[in-house]
Every structure is written in structure tokens, then in C-alpha cells.
């Protein structure tokens, strides 16, 4: 608890003072792998997590994301120098746009803002069947709806059962079940594929 309070004070002073938080701090790294999982679980199983936000971006201003949750909750999410941002790949704040969807994890500050440790922009995790395969595109059936998955050269990778991620998509087959981690293209039925998991 003491660490939580101290971390909140650090983040508050950093965002108010405009300081840039980078890498490790005296409280430990703010990188996502260090942020995942507090030693004690403060939130009851089954309950909403106040340190997690979901929704679509309605405004961006001075390092702050204004987000309307899908349940209509309003969020103000502070981006610091220590925030990790993912949008198809690890990226930077300037790639985030109004209209994007997101999930964010961080720490709720006393002013009601969420100081973000990690923000995943437009991320989707689809379980689908391959309906057709084209040049750099997978046509997916996802819960009875068609989703167009774009393969992005240099980024998209495939994992076949227990293999490491590879760029070779040649083992994908029409009719096969796949899991796709990707980035939704807002207001379309299209995603850009980061990783496609397929059974061999």
C-alpha cells in the first residue's frame, strides 16, 4: 500500500510538473512487465478494476487522452514518458488518434485521471476461421461476420502450434481455426495483423 501511495505521488508530481518519466525509477521500472500485477490484489475477483480503462478516444490534448468508455464512463488518461504504447507494434504517442479504441492500465490519481503504465490502441484478439486467403490478406469469419485481416510486411507473424513466430504464412489454410492479435482499423471491419496463431 505504501508503495502504491508513493507511486501515485511520483506519477502525480511527474505529470503536474511536466517531467518525463523514463525507464526505471526509484520505485522500480514503469515498464509494462514490471507494472503487471501488484503484490497484493486490491480488487476482489469479479469486480471492476478502477485502474483499467476501455473505450474510444474522443480528444487528445497535452499528453492527455479523453476517452468515452463503451459503458459511457468518461476517462482522462495521462500519458507519461514511462507509458508503453502499443498500436500494432510498440509505438509512440504521436501515432494515437481520435476515434481509436483502447485498453489502458495504470494508476488512478487523486484528481481522477489514470496515469497510464500501458496503453493498447485498437488491439483485438479474434478467434476466427479463415474463409479465404489473398495477397497479404486473410478473410476471416468471426462470429458469423466477415473480418478482413491485412498482413503487414515486416510486422505480421505466424505461430504454428509451438513454433516461434515466423513471417512465413504459407502454412495457413482456408477453413482452419486461427487466433489473431491485431489492430482494428476504426469504423471498419478490417484489422492489421500482428500475430496469427494457427494449429499445425
Amino acid at each position: 500500500m505504501t508503495e502504491t501511495i508513493d507511486r501515485r505521488r511520483l506519477l502525480t508530481s511527474a505529470v503536474v510538473g511536466g517531467a518525463s518519466l523514463v525507464g526505471a525509477t526509484a520505485l522500480g521500472s514503469l515498464a509494462p512487465e514490471a507494472a503487471f500485477g501488484a503484490p497484493d490484489q486490491a480488487v476482489e475477483p469479479g469486480a471492476p478494476d478502477p485502474n483499467f480503462a476501455e473505450g474510444r478516444i474522443t480528444g487528445i490534448s497535452a499528453g492527455m487522452l479523453f476517452v468515452t468508455g463503451s459503458d459511457m464512463a468518461l476517462w482522462r488518461i495521462r500519458i507519461t514518458g514511462g507509458t508503453s504504447i502499443w498500436k500494432l507494434r510498440p509505438t509512440t504517442f504521436d501515432t494515437v488518434a481520435v476515434g481509436d479504441g483502447l485498453y489502458a492500465r495504470g494508476l488512478r490519481l487523486d484528481d481522477g485521471t489514470l496515469a497510464a503504465d500501458s496503453v493498447w490502441v485498437n488491439i483485438v484478439n479474434l478467434h476466427a476461421h479463415i474463409a479465404a486467403i489473398g495477397r497479404n490478406v486473410l478473410h476471416l469469419d468471426h462470429k458469423g461476420r466477415r473480418v478482413v485481416g491485412h498482413l503487414v510486411p515486416g510486422t505480421s507473424a505466424a505461430r504454428y502450434n509451438n513454433t516461434p513466430a515466423v513471417s512465413d504464412m504459407s502454412m495457413l489454410r482456408v477453413g482452419k481455426h486461427v487466433q489473431v492479435i491485431g489492430a482494428w482499423v476504426p469504423d471498419t471491419n478490417e484489422v492489421e495483423i500482428a500475430t496469427v496463431y494457427a494449429s499445425a
Binding site: 512487465e33 501488484a38 471492476p48 474510444r56 463503451s70 478467434h127 502450434n161 509451438n162 492479435i181 494449429s199
Partner: protein
């Protein structure tokens, strides 16, 4: 129940954006992406008929809506408690699948966590991780 090892992933439910917008609140009617919840392959007899972990040689206890499980990310030791809110994953579609971090591996999909829960112990962009699941 002794701890079961396998793979964990995440899924969206409740009100959402994009392709998740049609997800609904899950088999239990309570599922929300922002809550500490999970899908379990044996949440009911009807659920088990779909997920069929037995086809992968796994026997999972029948646990109903609201039951608590504790999931540990075997890559980093982080642990989270969640309650059952949906049926899944469809284990038999992935029989024998294995994911590893270093020498630590998990085989077969045994649990799906909500984004709030998964992101507490792993990065959402990882998609799939080795885990263990117990009830205490």
C-alpha cells in the same frame, strides 16, 4: 483441486468497440472486459460439449458462474483471482498447442481472462502465455 498447467489467453465481453462490439455479456450474463473475470471450459454440461478439453486428455472440474479461480502467469509469477463469467476457451481446437517463455511451457488452452485481468499479469499484445490455475 491441484494446480493445472496450460495456456491462457484473453477475450472481450460486455459493451465494447470494434469487432468486440457484438460480444455480449457471456454465458453467465455478467461478463465485462473491465472486471476480473474469466471463461472456463467446464462452466456447465452444455459448455463442456463445446469446449471438449477431454479430447486433449484434460479433465477439468465442473465450476459454475461466479466460481473463483486463481491464475498465475508462469513467465513472471504474477497471479490474479477472477470469477467465472463465460464458457471457453474451445480447448479441443488447439489440442497439443504449446506456448513457452524460455524453458517454461504450457500445453493446451485452459482459461481465457478478461482484458482487465489478463493485463494485470501479462501484456495484452502477448496474446497467449503459459499459466497455472488453482482455487486457493
Amino acid at each position: 483441486m491441484a494446480a493445472i498447467t496450460g495456456e491462457m489467453s484473453w477475450f472481450c465481453c460486455g459493451n465494447s468497440w470494434g469487432p468486440c462490439g457484438t460480444a455480449g455479456h457471456g454465458a453467465c450474463g455478467t461478463c465485462n472486459s473491465g472486471s476480473y473475470q474469466h471463461a472456463w471450459p467446464n462452466a456447465s454440461a452444455a459448455c463442456l460439449e463445446i469446449t471438449r478439453p477431454d479430447r486433449c486428455g484434460i479433465s477439468l472440474s465442473r465450476r459454475g458462474c461466479g466460481f473463483r479461480h486463481y491464475t498465475t502467469n508462469r513467465c513472471n509469477g504474477k497471479r490474479i483471482g477472477t470469477t467465472i463469467a463465460d464458457c471457453g476457451p474451445q480447448t479441443d481446437l488447439w489440442c497439443g498447442e504449446r506456448s513457452c517463455c524460455g524453458s517454461v511451457c504450457g500445453t493446451n488452452r485452459i482459461i481465457d481472462l478478461t482484458p482487465a485481468a489478463y493485463s494485470q499479469i501479462a501484456s495484452l499484445s502477448s496474446g497467449l502465455s503459459p499459466c497455472s490455475v488453482d482455487i486457493v
